[in-house]
């Protein structure tokens, strides 16, 4: 059983998120499913009238566009993912530079895997 989610890449992300905002959706959170050297998989959750919608973003490398400009509340979760997975969110304000929970850029991101993320079945 998997979650039904629209698959997108980082170029389409901001437009897709802005579309959710235009529909009046509430931003719920971002989940980083896994990240390693090759890339990362993130889930964006939105709520409208108790129904959840999801976006599944796969990126290569560790650069992800930030959605702070659309939903300002995303700054907290994006900083958390920077801490835990060592990704970089471009355009993140305020950027804690991986000091939200941890000691900063010289600390190891504890959730980052050494091998690849699990491929979808």
């Amino acid at each position: 059983m998997t979650i039904e989610a629209d698959r997108i890449d980082s170029v389409e992300l901001c437009r897709a998120v802005a579309a959710f905002k235009a529909k009046g959706c509430r931003f719920v959170t971002i989940t980083c499913v896994g990240a390693d050297q090759r890339g990362a998989e993130l889930l964006y959750h939105f709520d409208r009238e108790l129904a959840l919608s999801h976006l599944r973003l796969t990126v290569a490398g560790d650069e992800v566009p930030s959605i702070c400009g659309i939903y300002s509340a995303a700054f907290l979760v994006e900083n958390e993912i920077q801490d835990q997975f060592g990704l970089r969110f471009n355009g993140l304000v305020p950027d804690y530079r991986r000091t939200l929970f941890l000691a900063g850029e010289d600390s190891l991101p504890p959730f980052r895997r050494k091998s690849g993320p699990d491929q979808e079945e």
């Binding site: 059983m1 979650i3 305020p94």
Partner: protein
Amino acid sequence: MAGTILPFGPQHPVLPEPLHLNLQIEDEIVVSATPAFGYVHRGLEKLADIRDFRQMIQVVERVCGICSMIHALTYCQGLEELMGIEPTPRARFLRVIWSELHRLHSHLLWLGLFADAMGFESLFMQLWKVRERIMDINEATAGNRVILSVNVIGGVRRDLDSGQTAWILSELAEVEKGFSAMSRTILHDYTVQKRTRGKGALSRSQAMELGCVGPMLRASGVSQDMRLLGYAAYGELEFAPVVEQDGDCYARCRVRFAELGQSIGLIRQAIAKLPAGDTSVPVKGRPPAGEVVARAEQPRGECLYYIKANGGKFLDRLRIRTPTFANIPALTVMLPGIELADVPVVLLSIDPCISCTER
């Protein structure tokens, strides 16, 4: 005096938990607020790598002691959905009873702390005295005052007999009498109104845009409550979300106060309709596989669990989005423009639970 930065916390008399705020102030007025975290961060989602999916119930109960029962409930419901297990009807009603007991004790705790933040210490003491009756019910029915540990995959571990349900009803009548006697003070006292009305107001659109949840959202006029999803036995009980329009600290106080009565009503309904039968179904077969999102309404609002399992003993990924995590961004909007002396009141109005936020 432009550009003075005042550190607030991490150890502060008004906060039971360490949260740090950098307040930029001009004279007595807050210009901007930047929260800083990490004082309670444990990284417990990572424990899913070394504890199997059944042991993780004990870990998620300790994400936060105040809403521990509902954390375990959300996690168990996620796994039940993944494994295709349907808990017994009796278990679903018992889950409602314990959830609402938790909401009652959490809201009474918050009302007390909120009164303390306003400098109203006698009200704090009175409310916590009433709250002890709920703690007694928790202890008598689950064996522990705070962390109930009643949830298992497929149901609950404990049962209530008819003597206990009758006793719970009589205790709840006392609790209701206790907080109703204080309603005039909490809702209509001149000092309380002076400290809370118009402070930290969020409009409906602001609250939606900032992703607020729970009583924060409902105080700003949005009728949203995860219990309407009908999980556990909520689909078979009658209730309507408590909604206020003003969006200020006073409205949040009113919402939470009204929810005390609502919770008692839900417990009474659940006890009246409590079906007979087993309290859990046996769980057999392979460990879960796949991914699922589970949501439940905690005292502080919507809680979201993302679980990804691969059919092995250990989960691939467990992600917990707690309600306070969603409410913290609102602080950066509510705090600018208010006086320094009102910072504790506005800060407490979101019902901050830092151990939830940082996990």
